[in-house]
Amino acid sequence: MSDHGSITEPVDRQIIAATQAGLPLAPTPYDELAERIGIGADELRERMKRMLDLGIIRRIGAVPNHYALGVSANGMSVWDVDDEAVSRLGAEVGALDFVSHCYRRPRHLPSWPYNLFAMVHGRSRPEVEEKVAEIASLLGTSSRCHEILYSTRILKKTGLRIAA
């Protein structure tokens, strides 16, 4: 869980609500946002910098639509990794450039022995499988078994919704 606590200031929530769908595509986007919210542009930039420093904003930039870029095979690879090694190895798997998300999560024994989840993207299932084989060789004998769960349908995708 977070060490940073929650945002208590309503102005920050207004900024989040005003930017979660995107920044204005205009030469001075932060000035436009500040005017819309009714605060000074300097204050808005300072608050956004603070949120970036705290990790409340993960990053600012282009959010690609994988499917439109042809990266349409999405495999959730799941691994049963030694508990003593999972933190060290998870960091190595997460650093691979074809892994978009990497987490340690609880097992649900006996049916679910996997404790490391790594999302792998590729243009086809064979490409995903090649990448998963790279992860397998990185993990070596520290991983007892793994599976790939492919997504076959998006049933819902609304993303984050914060009311101001």
Binding site: M1, H4, G5, S6, I7, I16, T19, A21, G22, L23, L25, P27, Y30, A41, M48, K49, M51, L52, I56, I57, R58, R59, I60, G61, A62, V63, P64, N65, A68, L69, M76, G90, G94, A95, L96, D97, S100, H101, C102, Y103, R104, R105, P106, H108, W112, F117, H121, E147, L149, Y150, T152, R153, I154, L155, K156, K157, T158, L160, R161, I162
Partner: protein, 152 residues
């Protein structure tokens, strides 16, 4: 396919701007300098890339947990003949942000997010009551660096 409509400059923009967009007075100007195009051209291209859904959006990505909320990943094993009905029940909750069908006995995977961490257990219990199916909860125990590189 849509990606046939993107050219080399679009690729440069997508590859260079997946993070690190400045918080400054003229951020598009600074970013455009980095990829050696004009500010106007960068803005026009971003408008087109967002309009054509090559980009989902352009702007900040927020971390719901650091904002004080809570998120967990859940999965269910849904019988085939109930799949659509159960998907509707799960999706009808506004706290369910994403839901994917996947190839496994656990064939429905969804993310539950709430402003209030105490809500998650209540929502999961509600989904179990609505559907009569067990929900497996996979809260994140450790997060490793999230890559941000989709190469266009």
């Amino acid at each position: 396919m849509k990606h046939q409509s993107i050219d080399e400059t679009d690729r440069k923009i997508i590859n260079a701007l997946q993070g690190g967009f400045p918080i400054s007075e003229r951020p598009y100007l600074a970013a455009a300098d980095r990829i050696e195009i004009s500010e106007d051209e960068l803005i026009a291209r971003l408008e087109r890339l967002v309009g054509e859904r090559v980009l989902s959006r352009f702007g900040p990505m927020y971390d719901a947990e650091k904002m004080g909320g809570a998120v967990t990943l859940c999965a269910m094993a849904v019988p085939d003949d109930r799949f659509d009905e159960v998907a509707d029940l799960v999706n009808s909750r506004r706290e369910v942000a994403h839901n994917y069908a996947r190839t496994h006995d656990l064939n429905m995977w969804f993310v539950v997010a709430s402003d209030d961490p105490a809500d998650l257990a209540r929502i999961i219990a509600g989904i179990e009551a609505d559907t009569g199916l067990k929900v497996f909860d996979f809260p994140k125990e450790e997060e490793f660096f999230i890559g941000l590189r989709v190469s266009a």
